[in-house]
């Protein structure tokens, strides 16, 4: 699904240039459950932004489902973000003035779905995350765990094959966090590829594959070694 070769991402502030990623080689297959770990500043979020086509690499090659991402136009990248990738953020990033229903509906509007189809899909998604009764609530009327579940429902709106979650439990208590990770496990077990950035070793332990970044490079990747199967045992 994902093929990255010698990916470099540099940021320039005035005359100063900083390399957040210094040559990443990464291959991700279908239906993997990956944790990306590493100290702050190691390039985790930068890598996730590139994987999810929120940003483009300064150098290197990135193929997503066979498409050369560097050659895509902004509209084509937006289409990928709409249909192939689902994002879940630490800060939830829900629209504060919109209801849960309207937040989940947003990617479907951009996908051009008709009203009736959109309503049906949103209802199914909210049921899937256990929030059918909160459809009319605004974010200020929900708990952190509920908001994150709405965010997950939104990420699943157009049935993407790839789910990217950046510290999804960072702003949650342990109980809510546990519920969220269970949802990600379910998603992996139903065929999605899930990549989670996390500082939490408990979460990393539940992932099938753990990639550790350090100073903009992959330090360790147990992708060819110790991996969990879907039952939680060693593959």
């Amino acid at each position: 699904m994902i093929e990255m070769k010698k990916i470099i991402k540099s940021y320039r502030t005035g005359a100063v240039s900083f390399d957040a990623l210094r040559g990443i080689d990464l291959t991700v297959g279908d239906n993997e459950f990956i944790a990306i770990v590493g100290p702050s500043g190691s390039g985790k979020s930068t890598l996730m932004n590139l994987v999810g086509c929120l940003d483009t690499p300064t150098d290197g090659e990135y193929r997503l489902e066979g498409k050369q991402v560097e050659a895509l136009s902004p509209n084509q990248l937006a289409e990928i973000r709409n249909g192939m990738v689902g994002f879940v953020f630490q800060a939830f990033n829900l629209l504060p003035y919109a209801t849960a229903f309207e937040n989940v509906e947003l990617p479907l509007i951009y996908a051009g779905l008709r009203g009736k189809d959109r309503r049906r899909r949103v209802t199914d998604l909210l049921c899937q995350v256990g929030l059918a009764d909160k459809a009319a609530n605004r974010p200020t009327e929900m708990s952190g765990g509920e908001m994150q579940r709405v965010a997950i429902a939104r990420a699943l709106a157009n049935n993407p094959r790839l789910i990217l979650a950046d510290e999804p439990t960072g702003n949650l208590d342990s109980v809510s966090g546990g519920e969220i990770i269970n949802i990600f496990v379910d998603l992996w077990q139903t065929g999605h590829t899930v990549i989670v950035i996390t500082h939490d070793q408990n979460i990393a332990r539940r992932c099938q594959r753990v990639i550790k970044l350090k100073d903009g490079l992959i330090d360790t990747d147990n992708g060819n070694g110790h991996r969990l199967d879907k039952t939680g045992g060693n593959a």
Partner: protein
Amino acid sequence: MKPSVLYNVFARDFKRQRKRMILTLVAILWGTMSIMLLLAFGEGMKTQFSRNLKGLGEGIVILWGGQTSKPFAGFGKGRHIPLRVEDIEYLRSQVPEIETVAGEYIRWGIRFRAGKTLIAERVDGIYPEYESLRSFIPDSSGRMINQLDMDQRRRVVFLGWTLKERLFGPEMPVAEVVGKTIYMQDIPFTVIGVMRPKIQMGSYQGEDKDVAAIPATTFHALFGDPWLDNIIYRPRDLTANKAVEKRVFEVMGAKYKFDPTDEKALSTWDVVEQSRVTNNMFLGIQIFLGIIGALTLLIAAVGVANIMYVSIRERTREIGVKMAVGARKIYILTQFVMEALGITFFGGLLGMSVAYILTEAFKRVPIQSDVLDFMGRPTVSLEIGIIVTVILGMLGFMSGLFPAMKAASINPTEALRYE
């Protein structure tokens, strides 16, 4: 984007930036009201001037005899060219482009007596066509001179409304004046009607309010004037007035043997042309007023752009989220342009409503004033509404476009990090 979401965005922004939003809306309201009122005043003036110009006569050309300034066909220059009664029929038959034509005799210093009141005034010998040509519209209790009066050379008189007051007093109703006898040079004449008051801009022999008009045939029988003082005609096609005038010179030149290009052989006053010039002048005034109003509105539009820039800065993260879930740049652009248009049109609608209410209220204020009779009252027309709506649309679009372009160019990863 659902209207409900757009409305929620607007309401949320309104709550967050209430004072700024209200000030911006007030600025748009004020700018819109200003441009509407300025254009309404211009329209009112134009309409009133047009009406006033029609007081002399609508679409008419007045012809006087002149003096040749060029030798022609063996005749020298300096020859007097008169206008005769038969010229009326001659023009009617030779110039089919003329719709209506009639002539006029004028004599000054005529004694008029009604009861014990004695005044000196002018008398006009006119044709029935003057009701249409020169707006000699009678009050409903009387009538104008007709063909029977002409054929029978009746001693009947049609009075200007000020002359009626001078002879009979302002308190006597017109209905009582009609049928009364006045004496003109000691000859009894029956009053058949009084002219309905009108505003008259321009005259050539004194204002119509002071006229005593009798049938032209009666005038000729009484005074024996050999020549008409003037002939008045109206072209069928008012846009072809110049061509008709040229034709009139040709046929009169053929009859009186003068060079048709000799502009002094006959004198003309083309009221049609004057109307056109006046209309162009008022169009210029309206454009000028419109520009002033538009500049006022432009300042308000700058306020809209300002508030949009602030709004975009505060909603940077929201823009990042939308891009993350697949919003294309055009969606972001459209959203913010629509919001700017929404503020502009809402404020504009309020401004147009206030301007309309003010102009309608002003129309209903019972002020009698010569100034208002001359200048007219402000008038809001559909045309003005459309012009202002178009200006609002353009300004709303422009005030939203540049902030929207800034929003659409935001880097989503930076936007998602924005606090």
